[in-house]
């Protein structure tokens, strides 16, 4: 039976034995700028450190060592598919035997009885993850080169010129710390013409709009805001407090915020969705589902507009504005609607589990 080759481990183990002198020689070298060396030639990723030599980009004569003879033969055989009828391998390399290193690799028992020379080599081998070749030579060569250049002072003049230019430019940049004109502070979002209106204001305006007449809707919204600005400040209702509004008297001074507070206060947290056949027998069951913020706001605005339609004022803007003030004072039916919805959702919250069970069984 041909030996099964583990290419990856073989590749790791074999060179250790083949190139015994490298690692030791590193230690014997003078320690010139070792940290610098690590910085320069090790992995570019500081987090991975020196752990993964494959991630670093080695360069040099030992960059891509050829595989071992037997590995090569095995690969060849795999590609060519050559095999004799009796199952023996086609190539003589494979037929004649397996290198000792490979046997040692797969046989733990054999390792114990290895010759002492080989055992010493394995013991002195670098930890896994270190490079199988030295990068020190090149660095040392460069250092030597630089040192000799610095000592003689006869370096390439163009290099010096470029270096001077770089220092000049960096000095100039350091001098010009301040800008000619002060940098603009962060502009308000409304300075962008696409975002010039508050998001709730925009949503509300679009929802008042009829037949695509945006300008008319905007004019109506202007009237609504003016009404909010000039109408007396709402009286707080202890049962129905507006969210995050400690001072009701300050609301009219910022009508856009007034509108925001109203819409966010009456926005429902969820909707009731009815699942048919959830309880068996085709019966529909109500299941509460959470809403996203825009959905919540949209529903609140829809309720406010619906409720305003029952008012007896001839102008739409006045109807809506009065309804908004009614919401602020807790008089509006929108509050009832919200409370009722939340009550139903509380009642049928147990059905959420059924939906989950069904979705699991469907899967």
């Amino acid at each position: 039976m041909p030996p099964r080759l583990n290419l990856f481990t073989a590749r790791k183990a074999v060179p250790i034995i083949r190139q015994p002198s490298i690692h030791n020689s590193v230690l014997n070298r003078p320690q010139i700028g070792l940290t610098c060396l690590n910085k320069r030639y090790n992995s570019s990723d500081p987090k991975s450190g020196n752990q993964n030599p494959k991630s670093s980009t080695p360069s040099g004569p030992t960059q891509d060592p050829l595989p071992h003879v037997s590995e090569e033969a095995a690969a060849m055989e795999k590609i060519m598919g050559e095999k004799k009828c009796d199952g023996t391998p086609a190539s003589p390399e494979l037929e004649q035997g397996t290198p000792v290193s490979e046997i040692l690799q797969r046989d733990e028992e054999a390792k114990k009885h290895m010759p002492k020379v080989m055992q010493d080599q394995v013991r002195n081998s670098p930890p896994s993850g270190s490079r199988s070749f030295s990068t020190y030579t090149r660095f040392a060569q460069e250092m030597q080169k630089q040192n000799s250049a610095g000592a003689s002072g006869s370096a390439d003049p163009s290099v010096e010129l470029v270096a001077n230019m770089i220092t000049d430019v960096s000095n100039q940049a350091a001098e010009k710390q301040g800008l000619k004109f002060p940098a603009p502070e962060s502009l308000p979002a409304s300075e962008n013409f696409r975002e010039r209106y508050d998001s709730v204001l925009k949503l509300f305006t679009n929802m008042i709009m009829k037949s695509g007449k945006l300008t008319r809707a905007q004019r109506n919204m202007d009237t609504i805001l003016d009404h909010l600005r000039t109408a007396p400040a709402p009286q707080p209702n202890p049962r129905r407090r507006l969210i995050s509004t400690p001072n009701y008297a300050a609301l009219p001074l910022n009508p856009v915020q007034y509108l925001n507070v109203i819409v966010n206060s009456v926005a429902p947290l969820l909707k009731i969705k009815s699942y048919s056949g959830l309880a068996g027998g085709g019966r529909a069951l109500a299941v509460p589902e959470p809403l996203r913020l825009p959905q919540r706001r949209r529903l609140a605005i829809k309720w406010i507009i619906d409720a305003s339609q029952k008012r007896r004022d001839s102008k739409l803007a006045n109807r809506v504005a009065q309804e908004i003030v009614a919401v602020a004072e807790g008089r509006s039916s929108v509050w009832d609607r919200r409370e009722q919805l939340h009550k139903i959702a509380m009642g049928c919250r147990a059905n959420i589990a059924l939906v989950e069970i069904r979705s699991k069984t469907r899967r």
């Binding site: 600005r229 000039t230 109408a231 910022n254």
Partner: protein, 500 residues
């Protein structure tokens, strides 16, 4: 054709039952299939679109009757107009601006106050309302109390008013202005400031808040007999003017008495009567409103008592006349003569009277006791009158010192059919009396940056603008407002910025 046996199991299917089963046939064993071959009756396809017609039902197209939708009833007549014309001067929600000064006789000449916003005196608001100084959509409703900016033009006017009233060389002077300027540049508010100053100085104020109302055929008109060319009196409009004068100048007029005989009003007006009473005669009996107005004007422009009636004479105060929307008085009206020819606005006695004041008076100034004529043009409601454009250019040229005979002097296009009457009305010769100023055109532009800053600070201190008022922000707003046009500045100040 339906096969008579089953294709799968090859058993015979039951034949279609006959109408009369033969009695002779012996009962057979039940075959495997119990279903009759042709038992299924094809269902007739129902035509769902067209419902089945009943007998003798008509087939012609019928329109569905619209269901009556319950709608709120329209508001009572006049309510909508009242709502539209409602003037709100206060917003209790806005913050009160601390130590805001009032526009008074003292502050109107103070140059230090340039650029600051001065409040209109609260007791004067009723007078201003009565004289029609405020208009809807001027933005008074967002502040705690009405206030106006002291711009350079205002201060100059204040100085003129002060001169006319004070003892000195300028006493009893008359100055005449036509106010022009781009849209929303504050022409009407300039008139309002003039009225405020006049009330503060105890002048008599005559106002025409909307010149258009006189020429659109909404008020009664009658020819005045004995005039050539025929003039037309507008009884209702004159009565409205008289009531404005009474309500806004009650204090001043009640201190003055009738000092001469008025033969046309002999039965109702006696010397020694208060001028308010005289004016009330015109508002109660509208038929004589125009005559009463003429009598009142004679009384107010009198410089000395009639002989033997000295005891009834008090020195008359200066007069301020303001007209808003002057261009409407420069064209044919909607009124017609008995020959159904259009009546020119200058043939209306009311209009004619106030336009004739622009010309220098014969022998004595047109306002002998001094005063001011401030007539404003309008840009948002402006009929296009070519002759008026030319006349204004001529006025400006004359003001700049261009000789009317020189070729630089603007002339109307001979083919444009310019209205000669309009050009003549504004072609005012240089007054002989030193006290009478020449007619001038004053163009209101934008505020300066300093004035803009004061105005923006007023917004910020009222709690309406939630922004830091710095040099940059003021400059930005000034630029966005087309160089400080005050109406545009107001919009920018009101605009709510969304925080980033």
């Amino acid at each position: 054709m339906v096969p008579s046996f089953c294709g799968t199991c090859l058993s015979r299917l039951r034949p279609t039952p006959r109408v009369l089963p033969s009695l002779t046939s012996a009962p057979r064993a039940a075959p495997f299939h119990t279903t009759a071959v042709l038992s299924s009756v094809l269902m007739k396809k129902k035509n769902r679109d067209a419902p089945a017609k009943k007998y003798r039902e008509r087939t012609a197209f019928r329109m569905k009757k619209k269901r009556h939708v319950e709608r709120p009833r329209p508001p009572p007549a006049g309510e909508r107009q009242a709502l539209r014309k409602r003037i709100v001067l206060s917003n209790p929600n806005a913050l009160e601006v601390k130590d805001m000064k009032d526009l008074s006789a003292d502050t109107m000449i103070e140059a230090r106050l340039r650029g600051s916003v001065l409040g209109l005196p609260m007791p004067m608001l009723d007078q201003l309302r009565a004289s029609g100084a405020f208009k809807p959509h001027q933005g008074w409703a967002i502040f705690r109390r009405p206030g106006t900016v002291m711009r350079s033009e205002t201060l100059e006017m204040g100085k003129n008013f002060h001169e006319i009233t004070s003892e000195g060389a300028g006493k009893g002077k008359v100055f005449k202005r036509i106010i022009s300027g781009v849209r929303a540049s504050g022409k009407t508010v300039h008139l309002l400031q003039a009225m405020t100053m006049a009330f503060a100085k105890k002048w008599v104020v005559f106002t025409v808040p909307e010149a258009q109302d006189l020429v659109i055929g909404h008020t009664t008109y009658t020819p005045i007999s004995g005039t050539n060319p025929t003039l037309y009196a507008q009884a209702d409009a004159t009565a409205a003017l008289l009531s404005r004068v009474i309500n806004s100048n009650r204090d001043v007029l009640s201190g003055l008495t009738v000092s001469r005989e008025h033969p046309s009003l002999r039965s109702t007006v006696k010397p020694g009567m208060k001028l308010t009473e005289l004016a009330t005669v015109g508002t109660t009996d509208r038929a004589i409103a125009w005559t009463v107005f003429q009598a009142l004007w004679t009384e107010l422009t009198a410089t000395s008592p009639a002989p033997s009636l000295e005891k009834h004479f008090q020195p008359r105060p200066p007069i301020l006349v303001t007209v808003d929307g002057l261009a409407h008085w420069m064209k044919n009206t909607e009124y017609r003569t008995p020959e159904f020819q259009p009546i020119h606005a200058h043939d209306l006695a009311f209009v004619n009277h106030f336009l004739s004041l622009l010309k220098p008076g014969f022998e004595k100034p047109s306002l002998p006791n001094g005063g001011a004529l401030v007539y404003a043009l309008s840009t948002s409601n402006k009929p296009s009158v070519y002759a008026l454009d030319v006349a204004l250019k001529q006025l400006e040229a004359r003001q700049a010192g261009v000789d009317p005979k020189s070729p630089e002097f603007p002339q109307p296009d001979p083919y444009a059919n310019a209205d000669i009457r309009v050009i003549d009305a504004l072609n005012v010769p240089k007054p002989k009396d030193a006290k009478e100023g020449a007619l001038e055109v004053q163009t209101l532009g934008g505020l300066t940056r300093e004035e803009t800053r004061g105005y923006m600070e007023y917004f910020a201190r009222s709690g309406i603008m939630r922004e830091k008022v710095s040099e940059e922000s003021v400059s930005e707003k000034w630029t966005l407002a087309a160089g400080g046009v005050i109406g545009e500045l107001e919009k920018l100040g009101k605009r709510v910025r969304v925080a980033a």
